[in-house]
Each structure stands twice: as C-alpha cells, then as structure tokens.
C-alpha cells in the first residue's frame, strides 16, 4: 500500500508536481500526554524528485513540516507521458519510491 501519492501535470511548458505522503512527522520533542514520555522522532529527512532520471528537486526536511506532508513545486520542461519519480527517506530508515506519468 503506497503511502505516497504523486500527480504531475504539464501546463504551458511547465510541469507542476504535487506530492502527498502519509507520514507522522514526529519532531522528537513532543510528549505523550498519558505517559509524559517523549515520542521518538520520526520524520522525513530527504526528498528527491527526478524527471527521466535527472534530479529536478532535492529537499532536506526537518520535523517542521506538517504531519502527512503535502508539497508542490514546478519545473520547466517535461512532456506528456514522461516519468516523474519521488523518493523519500526518513530518520528511521523508512523509504519509498513512487513513480507517476506527466499528464
């Protein structure tokens, strides 16, 4: 079950990529209200987006990004049917790679 949804759309020569990841994004400084113990950090640290094997966006994240992160960006170029790949890694070793076609 993929936790990541990717949409890529071409408009006037610019490709807009929208990504939604299902992830807790724990900062590590939040406390469990019942036990009073700290909830261990669990957040995405690195996101890479490639278009036909060329990296178009590379992001470093902290826990400052909201839970179930959404982000969108655009880049010049791209053609209908091209592949866009999103790869993310988190601080506990979790990773996922999702591919989408540009529409």
């Amino acid at each position: 079950m993929a936790k990541t949804k990717v949409r890529a759309k071409l408009k006037n020569g610019i490709t807009q990529v929208k990504v939604l990841v299902k992830h807790p994004m724990e900062t590590g400084s939040r406390k469990d209200k019942k036990t009073g113990e700290k909830i261990p950090a669990h957040h995405i640290t690195e996101v890479t987006c490639s278009h036909n094997d060329t990296v178009v966006m590379q992001a470093d994240w902290t826990g400052g990004i909201s839970k179930n992160p959404y982000f969108s960006f655009n880049f010049a170029g791209g053609a209908s049917g091209d592949k866009v790949t999103i790869v993310w890694k988190d601080n506990t070793g979790g990773t996922e790679s999702v591919e989408a076609d540009i529409k």
């Binding site: 807009q16 400084s29 939040r30 966006m57 590379q58 994240w61 909201s66 839970k67 992160p69």
Partner: protein, 167 residues
C-alpha cells in the same frame, strides 16, 4: 482601576481606607492605572517585531554561515493565512519572480527549531513552492531564496491560535 478604587473609597465612607496614608494610596492607584492602560500595548508590539527580525537573521547565519547576508526582496511573495487556527498545519505558498532559482529555504524564527526545510532545484525552478508547515506560536514565516548566487528573503506574519510544536 482608579474608578473602582474611588468607589470603594466612597463605599467605606473613606474610613477604613484612610488608615493607609493618603499619599501612598493615591500614588499606587494612579501608578497602577497608568501602567495597566499604557504599557502592554506600546512596548510589546514593537519588541516582538524587532526580535523576530533578529531571530531570522540568527537562523540564516546558523544555516548559511556567518558570511551569509540575506537581503529583503519584493520579488518573493509568501502566501500564508494571517490567522492560522491550527499551528500544526499552516499552508504556505512561495512564489518567486527571479531567474536561476537554486534553493528555497523555509524558516520560522519563533519555532523551537527555526529551520524547517530546504528545497533545492539543480536545474532551476519555475518559481513556485507550496507546502504545509508547523508553527509553535505566533511569529513570522520566512522564505530565503538563493538565486544567481545571492540570498534574498521575504517573510510574513502568521498569528497562531493553537501551537503545533510539542504538547
């Protein structure tokens, strides 16, 4: 405050209160009334804005090194709600009207961890980035953009009613 004191003074026929020396009574009442009505509004607002800029500068120095100097730019526009009901998820849109955008860094100077994220674009960006960030309390959200080797920034104030960092 002064009025209440005066009413009480009347109610007790001035008798009990007169045990306090009259001068002290007046001084404290007036000082209290003046202090309460004037001080909080004026000083707080100004201090908050000044420290916000300082904090942002500190965060930029920490992230980009001591030599880094970012200039405010009107080519960067940030779209974020003026009042965020939930600080755990504040939508932020950054639009940049510049050539050769290399990096967009998001910083919230009032957060426990001011540095939120850095998005870099090895082949240039078309100038749009939007995401959702956490904000611990009312403060500004800044976007530092590296374009053509220069650092530029813009920031926007967001009022947060429920914080989103920690519990």
């Amino acid at each position: 405050m002064l009025l209440i004191a005066y009413e009480q003074y009347n109610k007790y026929g001035g008798q009990e209160l007169m045990t306090i020396p009259r001068r002290t009574f007046l001084q404290t009442t007036i000082a209290g009334a003046v202090g309460a009505s004037l001080l909080p509004h004026v000083t707080f607002a100004e201090e908050a804005t000044a420290s916000e800029v300082d904090k942002l500068t500190a965060a930029i120095t920490e992230k980009f090194g001591a030599d880094a100097k970012a200039e405010a730019s009107d080519k960067i526009s940030i779209k974020a709600p003026e009042i965020a009901e939930n600080g755990a998820s504040v939508p932020v849109d950054v639009t940049v009207d510049l050539e050769n955008i290399e990096e967009i860094t998001l910083i919230a100077p009032s957060n426990p961890t001011p540095y939120i994220a850095k998005f870099s674009f090895p082949n240039g960006s078309a100038g749009l980035l939007s995401t959702r960030v956490k904000m611990g309390k009312t403060g500004s959200i800044a976007a530092v953009v590296k374009a053509d080797g220069k650092l530029l920034y813009a920031s926007k104030e967001v009022k947060v009613t429920i914080g989103g960092c920690g519990g």
